[in-house]
Subunit: 229 residues, 4 copies
DNA sequence: TATGAATGAGACTTCATTCAT
DNA sequence: CATGAATGAAGTCTCATTCAT
């Protein structure tokens, strides 16, 4: 796909650096460190595609290298071996997700609106995207990569559960949610979303699922049906 | 665990066969066809353990053979190759599940009782058991084995969804379920159960989940909280 | 050299086994165990040639396999990995040498005659032969294979030194050897022989060494010059 | 051990060079040629350590570079490739030895005294030192590096043999040595010393060898036991 | 039918060498 | 001159599959 883009694209700029002073602000500085970072992220990108498509064991480093447009040996400049590549990869991809979770706005409107906004975001950013496939990949490889499962639990699941619980308690306090025991199992709140993620990966071509509509019905179940829409 | 049971149990009979005489009295019920079937099911059993533990690509036929107590070559007398073994295996294991789904008793009591009975059964037979791991295995390998995903969808998922939908519609008709849109998404009904299955595989050691209690809360959400318990 | 000799040479005999009873004593039983042993020794033979020619690190398993007439994978049926192959190889080759040392005849004639007989044997069996090269190989790789050096010291060197010391003490007691301190350093007795081994490996083409004559002169030094020869 | 000494010591000067100005006053004695020579000898030093420790094939240029405190590419400014580095290295290290051999004082005292002095020097300078390991390295790699073996034979062995022969003949002429044939095999004179070198490398930890005492016994054998000591 | 030794393609990983900076 | 990131050939080892017994 993106074969050797950096190397081919910026030889002139690179040479310019060598000749004179640093190109103040004009060129985005395609220096060594930058190039290394670009390569690394090309590898991460390619690796994610391959791991998602084939799983850990069936993925060949050769294919990752080819897709990333680097030589096989280059991978080993960035990662110790295939296993740690997989583990670091998951971390790398998950970190921005965690950042977003942490940057959630404080609850101002109704709880239902909040949850709905959250679900909308999830629909757009996760379900049916590569990020959704990553979730499936973690489910698939988790038992063989405890460190990955641990990381995912610690950084995403436990925080997500905690956040959902807080929302649910707020909803109960405000009288938006009747079922008080729901606070004990925030998993119920997110279960349909997770199922939607998996469904799209596995059964989309047999029976496409209108995830948005399904989540709305689920919220109706929890918050009571809306009058106005 | 069950190492070399077949081999250990019938070496004499086996050798007798090789020489040409019939194993007349030794094991009257254990004729050739029966023994072949026994071997096959030993292989299936062993293969499932290994595939669940390591996934398709990382599982070695050597290990399956050892666990099943047969020689590596024997596997090829029953299966064309590793891939078809995996596909047939999933079919073989799933068939009894389908049979059970089909043998469900006609709805007599309340819908909630029926669903609860069904959930109870699911808890006992699937969550935290090897069958639950099979679900995770299918999620993991589905994209690489479309035929497996297809089979699973056709035999289990679509039937399950249809069955659930019928129950939900009955519940709506009887006034047990208020949320009429639920019939469009029976997935919502089973989502927490699926999540429980996955949770037990991945996060049980971080945060054990009381699946039974969670499912009860979920049913309360759908059917309304029970007065008497 | 000996490419696939077994496989090509004995298919008929092998098939004969399958058809009827075991071929009592006529054919030397080319059964599985025998064939395996033959293969193993072909590998050992080939490996020794290669290791001697190139040293441990520079030897390719591919070349060993080719020379032994087996597939690469076959090596791994007999040896865990390259390192243990090397270690076992040295052991395997050295054992018969040790056996010979142990089977030395009891001292009957003069000590000089005994030592001379021993030296003659050494000349014929070691110097300029592959066994001599093995000595050089051990000298070369010893520091990187402590277990090999240990084994060689324990099985060959320490026994050889002890045996030489006994002979020297006998020689002193009988008045054949004047230098009494020699018993403290049997190494002196064998040093020229060892040097001859190494010399032949390294410098034979620059300056061939008449090892036999040199050893005779050395013995003259120790036992005094012979009157009659 | 001596990590990156060069690099750490002269970064400023080095950078100054790169820009084009002469490092006028900073390091007057350390001009370009000198620094290059220093680098080269750092590489030689490091390479010898590594080659001795691991042998030619198993030594990585990376490790040599690290130990020498230079970048990997720098090695290629001084040596064509790994092989010629090894060959030149041996030459470089051996030259001073040859110089010493040539600078031997003319025989004035008794031959035994001369030989003893020589042996003493050998003990101090070679046995148990890195130079001794170099001998073992040549024994190990000689067959794969004929040019090294040739060089070593021409520069060291043949000269050493010639020198020893001259001494032996002198000893015979003066009546200090009785065994006249010894002149034909000066190897006998040095054999125990060589054995001592090898012994220390391989078996020192199993059975330490008092090389000095052994050599004295050996000389007693050749020159006859001393009255006074 | 059952066996398991043998095979060899193919995977991961290393490392000598190059070259833009 | 010096650097070290990048390369890719080549090596070790694994394992699905075959086939003589």
């Amino acid at each position: 796909m993106t074969k050797k883009p950096t190397k081919a694209a910026t030889p002139t700029a690179a040479r310019a650096d060598a000749k004179g002073r640093a190109p103040a602000d004009a060129a985005p500085a395609s220096n060594r460190a930058t190039r290394a970072a670009e390569r690394r992220s090309a590898i991460v990108e390619a690796a994610m595609e391959e791991f998602i498509a084939r799983g850990f064991a069936a993925t060949r480093l050769d294919d990752i290298a080819k897709r990333a447009g680097v030589a096989k040996g280059t991978i080993y400049l960035h990662f110790k071996d295939k296993e740690s590549m997989f583990e670091e990869l998951v971390r790398t991809v998950i970190v921005p997700v965690v950042a977003k979770l942490n940057a959630l706005p404080p609850p101002t409107g109704s709880v239902r609106d909040l949850v709905e906004a959250f679900a909308g975001n999830f629909l757009k950013e996760v379900i049916g995207t590569r990020r959704g496939d990553l979730v499936r990949l973690i489910v698939a490889e988790g038992p063989r990569f405890p460190s990955v499962a641990d990381f995912y639990y610690r950084e995403v699941v436990s925080r997500g559960i905690a956040g959902m619980r807080a929302l649910i308690e707020l909803g109960i306090a405000r009288g938006e949610i009747r079922e008080k025991n729901l606070a004990r199992y925030p998993q119920i709140l997110v279960a349909p979303a997770m199922i939607a993620v998996i469904w799209q990966s596995l059964f989309a071509r047999h029976a496409p699922l209108d995830a948005q509509d399904m989540l709305r019905v689920h919220l109706d179940l929890i918050f009571g049906e809306r009058r106005t829409t």
